[in-house]
Symmetry: C2
Amino acid sequence: MSISSRFSVGIHILTLIEINKDGVSSSEYLAASVNTNPAVIRKIMGMLKKAGLLKVQPGIAGAELAKDLSDITLLDVYKAVNVVKDNELFSIHENPNPDCTVGRNIQNTIEPLFFTAQNTLENVFKNVTIEDVVKDIFEKEKVNAKSK
Amino acid sequence: MSISSRFSVGIHILTLIEINKDGVSSSEYLAASVNTNPAVIRKIMGMLKKAGLLKVQPGIAGAELAKDLSDITLLDVYKAVNVVKDNELFSIHENPNPDCTVGRNIQNTIEPLFFTAQNTLENVFKNVTIEDVVKDIFEKEKVNAKSK
DNA sequence: CGTCCTGTAACTACAATGAATACAGGTAAT
DNA sequence: ATTACCTGTATTCATTGTAGTTACAGGACG
């Protein structure tokens, strides 16, 4: 099992729109950078738009960020692209046997653990913004240029 | 997307084997508590055995823990049942365009973030043992008895 | 030898992913 | 208004993972 690449693609899209803010970020342009089909990009853009992260209009080429760079966290993206339903990162087997000590208590014991783990994970993403990603990409670009 | 219930079933199995240590924990017995098919249980038991958490022998009914209760962490179980391949909790889109500033750097920017998130998640499970789970189940059982 | 067990393989149904194609409908320039 | 290009969306497809089921080979043991 792996969490869908919609998450990383979503980050890619938002980052590129920012870096290309003087140009036109059409789904085709973005698809060329991500290296996938424009329809896939449009679908993800639709999710980002629905979450209020992106401004796009039918018929008009290009998209722009709907919020300030530093106001978009990776958690926003994570939630937007719907890679994991709320509190369902881990699935718990259904209907354990209520006639067994373990069966009738295991769910209540495990659930809080799973929720904690999930929250911990999400907190990591809550503390990183698209601005951080943009800065890091410029950083990496600089290092590459020097090493040539 | 959800992480396979093999994880919660694995915890259930180990916990029940402990609590039923004076009895015989056959795959059929465990399956009745988990409420699934014995073959499913045997498959997961095979994984737990392979990871050195469980002692089982062909032909002999029952299984027992291969380690001390307090030496089996949930992370051991998590790794054992192979619900997430190493460092692949998040999938990153392949082959982004190297001719684009974002395309050629995004993977190196995102990967460390994903690894951090994954490690944070796993650390939660590293700090909980089967012993903790067993204790919590007895705790919950006590509370239930009182509320009757 | 018969019985019960574990270990596996094979098959099923089902859901999610990611890519691809197609097209309806919006926008705008000519 | 016609044309060209865009977004939004439905549909289809191949692939993969999950979870359950059945079946059976082979071990253990009375």
